[in-house]
Subunit: 155 residues, 2 copies
């Protein structure tokens, strides 16, 4: 396969938010992505897009023990699923992926709405959202639909 | 911000495809994601979703020199843009993100359509696609629309 068994990344910036705890899940909340000054040039033109993907490092997650299966949102009435069948933070590589609205760019700061990441979270990448990221006819399992009807928020 | 200046990841599997060169960009092509056996349990239930995001490591990309701006698809008639305003592989952290159709799961192998990754590419994560990943009213800049009208494929 490849000679790279270990992959090393470096944050490109970090999240700034006043939200604490579950408040970060509120999709209406705004927060900021502060891009490190060495990458300032790399955001030029991003303001042409209304939405971006944010890839971030879930640094609050303990990497021990190794967890491969979870109940969505910890609910035991839901099926026990592989972590790759959910959006749980408990993943072999704890990378978060969230689609956010890009409200404004000021200097090296991106103002966004809907980022469910805590204050200080390291950001790994931002990518513009376009029509290739849409699956019109996507199907989800029954448990997902049930959870989603019950409340907002995702697992 | 955080005490983690360097982030270390480990592949969870790799891509298997017969496509070579630009053939990988053909959205109709099928390929396979071979999940490492230690993570087999983690894909249980993923077959309930029709689409998944694949996060992969762009191991073919040289990390030198540091590039912060590019012309989309290398076309000089297009504006010079920050790499974060494009989907170029030349990113500070070369992580690829592609939405693919999940056709079938057999053992620890995911059969997918539309993955633009070369044979042997290390896979970092797979995540189910759901309606939280859709921005209905997304806007893109004029250069993007122009490029997209000219041909299929993305930059």
């Amino acid at each position: 396969m490849t000679d790279q068994k270990r992959i090393v990344l470096k944050p490109i910036g970090y999240v700034r938010t006043k939200a604490v705890g579950d408040e970060v899940k509120d999709k209406g909340r705004t927060s900021q992505i502060v891009i490190d000054s060495e990458f300032s040039e790399a955001i030029e033109g991003i303001d042409g897009f209304s939405h971006i993907f944010v890839l971030f490092w879930l640094n609050q997650v303990s990497r021990q023990p190794k967890i491969l299966k979870v109940h969505p949102r910890g609910r035991e009435d839901m099926p026990l699923l592989g972590v790759f069948a959910t959006r749980t933070k408990l993943r072999p590589n704890p990378i978060g992926l969230t689609l956010v609205e890009l409200l404004e760019v000021k200097g090296n700061v991106l103002f966004v709405r809907g980022l469910d990441a805590f204050d200080g979270t390291p950001v790994l990448d931002v990518k513009p959202f376009d029509s290739w990221d849409i699956a019109e006819d996507a199907k989800v399992p029954e448990w997902w639909t049930k959870l989603n009807q019950e409340r907002s928020g995702r697992s």
